[in-house]
């Protein structure tokens, strides 16, 4: 069994020791009490004696190296020629728990513990565990927030209630104000248009395709994004939804939905099957145009967050949609 040679702790506040030079070489025979190497601390240079008989092997620190206290820097084996090189930092023992090399008195473990308690540790967490106060954890949980987002954003742990505000600001949707516009339009414009298409061209149009197409065009108009792709999601009360790419650029008679699940730019929600005339569910992942109806009118609500649309864009979108619904033919042409 080889005996470990360790960089000793020679002072209270010593983290490393500078190896001045080895007095013996790899493979040399050693007796207990022989001087192995010299160490320089901030106060003095000291000689370190061997604590075992044998052969010196596996020297892993060279003259001039700063070696962490407690690190194994060589082995003393019973037989010559059995030494293996020791990788640095394979063993970083506590100075107070393992020190076969102890040429001077080092402070007892209790004294070290008391001292370290007075010095606040750097606020870091070396593991995956999130360090946070009980109250911060509870509040985050109640708000549906994940403290790991703070860690991912690089904020130092542990977290307190004050950090919850910072965590909230990392959540874009929850921070944005939710706004809505309510408006209505007469049904006869679209009804007349559908009847005209059928009687003149024999084309049967799906009413929902008209809405989807017009909403897409209105968003494009309001945001001034003529050349970009616009994704429109259509949802109904029964939870069914479908997604359309550039619905306003397709033929109304053959509007195709896309297979891809992508984040929509605008949502058209059809609740005409219900007796609701207005909804206010709060901003969603995209501006949401909800279509309800009375006997003679469509009741419309546009809900959006301040990050999705500014007020002018929202008003422009609503006005444009109303104009298309009032006089569809003009807009189709």
């Amino acid at each position: 069994m080889a005996h470990e040679v360790i960089m000793p702790a020679l002072g209270m506040a010593q983290d490393t020791g500078k190896l001045v030079n080895w007095l013996l070489s790899e493979g040399d025979q050693v007796k207990t009490g022989d001087i192995l190497f010299e160490v320089e601390t901030d106060k003095s240079t000291m000689e370190v004696e061997s604590q075992a008989d044998g052969y010196l092997h596996g020297i892993s620190a060279d003259a001039g190296d700063d070696v962490p206290v407690g690190q194994v820097i060589a082995l003393i084996s019973d037989t010559p020629g059995t030494g293996e090189r020791i990788l640095p930092a394979t063993k970083e023992a506590e100075p107070a728990t393992t020190e076969p090399e102890k040429p001077t008195k080092s402070p007892p473990a209790e004294a070290l513990a008391l001292r370290s308690e007075d010095v606040p540790a750097a606020p870091v967490a070396p593991t995956n565990k999130i360090l946070a106060s009980p109250k911060a954890k509870r509040l985050a949980s109640e708000m549906g927030l994940d403290l790991a987002d703070l860690a991912a954003a690089g904020h130092p742990q542990p977290y307190h209630v004050a950090d919850i505000e910072r965590l909230k600001s990392l959540q874009p949707h929850s921070q944005a104000a939710s706004c809505f516009l309510a408006f209505e339009v007469d049904k006869c414009g679209v009804r007349d248009f559908l009847e005209w298409m059928q009687s003149q061209g024999g084309i049967v149009l799906d009413l929902k395709h008209v809405w989807i197409s017009f909403a897409t065009a209105s968003l494009r108009h309001a945001k001034g994004i003529d050349g970009e792709a616009v994704i429109t999601e259509f949802t109904t009360l029964d939870g069914h939804s479908s997604t359309y790419l550039n619905a306003d650029r397709q033929r109304l008679s053959s509007l195709d939905d896309t297979e891809d699940a992508v984040t929509p730019d605008i949502i058209v929600r059809d609740i005409t099957a219900s007796s609701f005339t207005q909804v206010r569910l709060g901003a969603s992942k995209a501006p949401t145009l909800t279509i309800a109806q009375t006997e003679s009118r469509y009741m419309l609500t546009l809900e959006f967050s301040s990050q999705q649309l500014d007020d002018e864009q929202a008003i422009a979108l609503a006005n444009d949609f109303c104009a298309r619904m009032t006089n569809p033919l003009q807009h189709v042409i």
Partner: protein, 332 residues
């Protein structure tokens, strides 16, 4: 008409009033009659009530404590004067094995309406055997009530309640506060046990402090207030029974707590109150509960050394500031 009394005079007045009210109340202890105790607390009582009711004893604490327990069981209300709290070690059997357990072991047939008046507190240069704060020792024993007055007003109201209690009560006065004054009403009042006193309302941190540490906590609150930190100071008044509700409600409000007491920090009053907070208000805590007690060393005779063994206002403020700012006191 408000008037101010010293703590010493407030205790004297409480004893005199209760002895006039109830002739079974008597005082027993060393140097209590002609000498009026080394702190001159009892001056004048022997002149009014005579040596039958203000009884000087030999220097034999176990003896007079035993006499008092027997007298209490047989129909009187002794107020035992134990010259220094440090001498509690001498009366442990009489107090903890006899007085504390008699009511329970007699199936409720016997009562021990006894008051043990003694003191605590360091920084009087009285060395290790006359400077201890040993209230945690007796608070640990079921059957004993423990009161810790923090001012002359508290001392009078709590002592009168203690004398009227049908069970043994140990009341600790801080020996450095005997000359401190406070407003003490002329008219009679009692302070009930188990009702904490919110000395100062605050928002950011709760400082639970006992006896003279209430002054320390209030001074710390002043330091913190100048920095914009609002500290709430709570004086439990009695640690047995302990008014948990007031403490826990405060911590639920402030989310942070420190407990300051002059007993040794390890295994003491600070640890007990801190762990109750941690157990019962855990999900309201935004910082670890910090204990500040006396250092775990015999109280040094050297004034320089003695002064650093007890909590100070600056030390309390320093820790409180860290907790409020989310800085670490003991590492993460």
């Amino acid at each position: 008409m408000t008037r101010e009394l010293t703590l010493s005079k407030a205790v004297n007045e409480a004893l005199a009033e209760e002895m006039r009210r109830d002739e079974t109340v008597f005082i027993i202890g060393e140097d209590v009659a002609e000498a009026g105790t080394p702190f001159k607390i009892l001056s004048g009582l022997v002149e009014e009530f005579g040596t039958d009711r203000v009884m000087d004893t030999p220097i034999a604490e176990p003896g007079f404590m035993g006499i008092a327990v027997g007298a209490a069981i047989t129909g009187t209300r002794p107020v035992v004067d134990l010259m220094f709290g440090d001498f509690l070690y001498l009366v442990m059997d009489q107090l903890c094995n006899q007085a504390a357990k008699t009511h329970y072991m007699s199936g409720g047939k016997l009562n021990v309406p006894l008051v043990l008046r003694t003191n605590l507190g360091a920084t009087r240069r009285s060395a290790a055997q006359h400077s201890q704060s040993l209230h945690a020792l007796v608070a640990h024993v079921p059957g004993l009530k423990v009161a810790l007055p923090s001012s002359a007003y508290e001392a009078k109201g709590l002592l009168k309640t203690a004398i009227r209690d049908n069970n043994p009560v140990v009341i600790f006065e801080d020996k450095l506060m005997y000359q401190d004054t406070a407003v003490v009403p002329e008219e009679e009042y009692l302070i009930p046990f188990g009702v904490a006193n919110i000395k100062r309302e605050g928002r950011d941190i709760t400082l639970v402090a006992t006896s003279s540490m209430v002054q320390v906590a209030e001074a710390a609150a002043d330091i913190l207030a100048a920095e914009g930190i609002s500290a709430e100071v709570i004086d439990p008044r009695t640690i047995v029974p302990l008014d948990e509700d007031t403490i826990l409600n405060s911590v639920r409000k402030t989310s942070r707590a420190m407990v300051i007491d002059e007993g040794h920090q390890s295994f003491g009053v600070t640890g007990e109150i801190a762990s109750r907070i941690s157990e019962k208000a855990f999900y309201h805590l935004d910082a670890p509960v910090i204990r500040m007690g006396a250092m775990d060393v015999p109280v040094p005779f050297s004034p320089v050394l003695e002064d650093i063994t007890v909590p100070t206002a600056q030390g309390v403020a320093d820790n409180a500031r860290k907790l409020v700012r989310g800085e670490l006191v003991h590492g993460a």
